[in-house]
């Protein structure tokens, strides 16, 4: 066998260098920071009206729509991002599912005119067409995320806790290399 001298470090070792940044980080036309701490709930029901009743509020009806911190992700699924400390009734015995997932994910905020390019570096969706106020579950390369367009140039990204370090650094890599060089 020919020794070619290439030593590839095991993933576990090389990735040990990555630590979650405390942020914020400024790039060309883009700023990456941690979102403020939120209460998170996964809400499920076949009939949204039952869930409306349990929560005492009207849920958005269309997939992708958001209302008062709650996004409709699927035909029977909503994702709530509410002020820290908010608790929701569980609706015991009713045909609904209310699960506290506050600790499951972390939120990042990408803002500025370059934010779209950073997100598009790894997200295959045509995000320019995601209207302000809409949200969707999707992927960034191989990692599942929820993208929430809070304003024209402000994007909230939810990612499961253990993927957050990778995503933070993937965003940084894109911020370093894509500044000022994106499709119009």
């Amino acid at each position: 066998m020919v020794e070619i001298g290439v030593k590839i470090a095991p993933v576990a070792v090389s990735a040990a260098d990555l630590k979650l940044g405390s942020g914020p980080v400024e790039g060309t036309g883009v700023r990456l920071s941690h979102a403020e701490t939120k209460a998170r709930y996964s809400l499920r029901a076949r009939d949204a009206a039952v869930l409306d009743g349990v929560l005492g509020r009207k849920l958005p009806a269309k997939i992708g729509d958001t209302a008062d911190g709650i996004a409709c992700l699927g035909p029977d699924e909503w994702y709530a991002l509410l002020p820290e400390g908010t608790t929701l009734p569980k609706g015991e015995g009713l045909p609904v599912s209310v699960v506290d997932v506050s600790s499951r994910a972390l939120g990042f905020v990408l803002e500025g005119p370059g934010a779209l390019a950073v997100l598009s570096s790894g997200c295959p969706l045509d995000l320019a067409k995601l209207a302000v106020g809409r949200a969707t579950r999707t992927v960034f390369e191989t990692v599942e995320i929820v993208v929430w367009r809070e304003a024209e140039d402000r994007w909230h990204v939810e990612v499961w806790r253990s993927f957050a370090i990778w995503l933070w650094h993937a965003f940084l890599a894109a911020m370093h290399s894509s500044g000022g060089h994106a499709a119009k």
Binding site: I63, G64, L73, G74, P75, E77, R137, V139
Partner: protein, 90 residues
């Protein structure tokens, strides 16, 4: 990368959001114990594998999360249509 129209999201989304789910319209029997060994084998393992129109399941795993059905041409990979789970075969 394919673009797949999700009948629940009502938009075309990139393939990496989806997971393929095998041939569609193979319902699990309501009472499997009434199936003969041959019938059960057919249910478990025998698939049509056509050249051309194929009815198949996909799940929009990294989107709305729903399983749905599709008709895809296995030669061209063109999707003829997609429709919600539970709707009749198209």
């Amino acid at each position: 990368m394919l673009l797949i129209h999700c009948p629940y999201c009502e938009e075309a989304r990139p393939e990496v959001e989806f997971v393929y789910g095998g041939e569609a319209h193979i319902a699990r029997p309501l009472d499997p114990s009434t199936y003969s060994d041959a019938e059960w084998e057919e249910f478990l393992y025998i698939r049509s594998n056509p050249r051309g129109r194929h009815h198949e399941r996909w799940r929009h795993t990294h989107g709305c999360g729903r399983f749905f059905n599709a008709v895809r041409d296995t030669v061209t990979d063109v999707f003829e249509t997609t429709y919600k789970a539970g709707e009749p075969r198209k």
